[in-house]
């Protein structure tokens, strides 16, 4: 059944992909514990089987069977967790698309309401756009539905039980004191580690889920940005600009492709490829209107290739870019709020946004070490404030994603003779070449 745009939105946002992601994590933890227990049971079985006597052999056989069953169970649960992650990712992508379409349609209707008196076709155009969005969202619903259909965890195989009616191996008897402790891949002989996210039997956690946030690395300097599950790009909720954390480059708002040098060089004019510096001379100067300059201010001082002023369609492309960035920003803010409500990752909105601002890149200073004089940081901040007040900070220094330039500039203002390099304590023997004889 084809749903209207509001119905499709309601359908998509009723799902809980983040809860599914939490479920998958829970299943993985259970798989790890099961695998760990299988290792311990297997070790117990081998130890007991070395003893002579039928009772020992019987116990060893039972324990071995139990270890095998636990290992198989861990594999099954791990595989189901992987499938669940896929479902979660599909739902997450669908909700992002829905949020973006909502913003686009809302903007179209708002524009139509304003322009309707002198453009009678505007409402019809907005309605057509809504209809197109509904088609897209119905496709997303079907995709999500397909993911649900593909999620078949199956049933757990029967556990081995003693033929005489006795029960299996009590967990405590296996010394599961470090149930999840052994490193992955060290399971006992004959056991199969659970299939992890990577599908590798050696390490159930050797790779993160596809498109999921990287839990171990983070993205320095991009606090408050949100990762688009469809592309993996980081999106600034304030401006809608995107950054590719894989290649370390900004993303062109029209083509969706990374451009320019890696971001740590994006604030420098030399060595740039694929983008035009905003004050880089004739190409932009002939363009005139300044829209490209504003966009360039968002991208480390470089105009995205599709927006260079010499392009005959530059004005339209700039408008398209602005529209898509606005929709993306709205979607990112919406999704960030959703993540925050779920308690997944607390959303910290960027401190500043907009053209030329250092949106989302201000990093908190680290704590002062006990041995550091307070004047180190006090002097530094004072100098930075004085420098900022003395002159208008050019955009190129404020849009560096890593904030390296800002810190470097501030560092040059250390006054000579500051007590950073002095100490009240006498030097001990052996310092500065005074070797004890």
């Amino acid at each position: 059944m084809v749903q209207s745009f509001p119905e499709a939105c309601a359908t998509l946002f009723e799902g809980q992909p983040l809860v599914l992601a939490s479920m998958a994590a829970g299943w993985r933890n259970f798989a790890v514990v099961c695998q760990s227990m299988a290792s311990h049971v297997q070790a117990t079985a081998e130890g007991v089987s070395k003893q002579h006597g039928a009772p020992y052999q019987n116990f060893g056989d039972r324990a071995g069977g139990m270890a095998k069953w636990l290992s198989d169970l861990a594999s099954q649960v791990g595989g189901a967790a992987e499938a669940l992650s896929t479902v979660s990712m599909t739902g997450n992508q669908a909700q992002w698309t829905a949020a973006e379409k909502q913003a686009e349609v809302a903007a179209a209707h708002a524009i139509a309401a304003v322009t309707a008196p002198f453009n009678p076709a505007a409402p019809a155009a907005a309605a057509a756009q809504e209809q197109q969005a509904a088609v897209v969202l119905n496709g997303e619903i079907m995709r999500w539905s397909g993911a649900y259909a593909g999620f078949t965890p199956g049933k757990v195989p029967p556990a081995p039980v003693n033929s005489t009616g006795g029960e299996g191996i009590p967990a405590q008897a296996t010394d599961s004191g470090s149930a999840a402790t052994p490193a992955p891949g060290v399971a006992g002989p004959g056991s199969n580690p659970p299939a992890g996210p990577s599908g590798s039997s050696a390490d159930p956690g050797s790779a993160d889920r596809p498109g999921s946030p990287d839990s171990t690395q983070g993205h320095p300097g991009f606090e408050g940005w949100v990762q688009d599950p469809r592309t993996g790009y980081l999106v600034d909720p304030a401006t809608g600009r995107e950054f590719d954390p894989t290649t370390g480059r900004w993303v062109d708002p029209i083509t969706g492709q990374p451009f320019g040098e890696v971001a740590r060089y994006a604030a420098r004019l030399e060595g740039l490829q694929g983008g035009i510096p905003i004050d880089g001379g004739p190409l932009f100067a002939t363009g005139g209107s300044g829209g490209g300059g504003q966009l360039g201010g968002l991208y480390g001082g470089v105009i995205p290739p599709s927006l260079v002023a010499t392009n005959p369609a530059a004005a339209q492309l700039r408008q398209t870019a602005a529209n898509s960035m606005a929709a993306r920003a709205a979607a990112a803010a919406s999704m960030a709020a959703r993540d925050g409500a779920h308690g997944l990752y607390p959303f910290v909105p960027p401190m500043q946004g907009g053209v030329g601002a250092d949106g989302g890149q201000a990093a908190a200073p680290r704590a002062r070490y006990p041995a550091e004089p307070r004047s180190i940081w006090a002097g530094n901040r004072g100098d930075a404030r004085a420098a900022a007040a003395a002159a208008l900070v050019p955009p190129l220094t404020t849009t560096t994603p890593q904030g390296h330039r800002s810190r470097r500039s501030a560092g040059q203002n250390y006054p000579a003779g500051e007590d950073v390099w002095t100490s009240d304590r006498p030097a001990t023997r052996g310092v500065l070449g005074d070797h004890p004889s």
Binding site: V19, A24, A25, F30, S145, E167, I169, R209, S215
Partner: protein, 112 residues
């Protein structure tokens, strides 16, 4: 230091194995066996996780329930202490989530 690991939403997290033992023991002190098993089952099959409007959601939720129930049933049949497993799985999840958030926050501050 022995290492243990668990999973959070962001992926795998490694932490000190002692913390896991302590966390699991603490859970076993705070909750009864039945409560721990119930908590684990709710983690593995939370209600309404699949929604109801997407076609196939109800069926997927039903399959999940059946799977989780069969896990519990077979664990009991095997005579394994489900509460012990539950406490460890829950502790691993809690530790992983906490470490994941802290690691992410530290990384976003540039490691400072």
């Amino acid at each position: 230091m022995a290492e243990a690991y668990g999973y959070a939403e962001g992926g795998r997290v490694v932490f000190d194995a002692t913390l896991l033992d302590e966390g699991a023991a603490q859970l076993r002190e705070q909750f009864s066996s039945d409560q721990l098993v119930t908590m684990l089952m709710q983690t593995m099959a939370p209600p309404a996780a699949f929604g109801s409007k997407i076609p196939g959601a109800r069926e997927a939720a039903q399959r999940t329930d059946e799977f989780v129930r069969s896990v519990e049933e077979q664990m009991g049949r095997a005579g394994l202490d489900m509460a012990d497993l539950a406490s460890r799985a829950l502790a691993a999840g809690a530790l992983a989530r906490g470490a994941d958030l802290q690691t992410r926050a530290a990384a976003e501050r540039g490691g400072r």
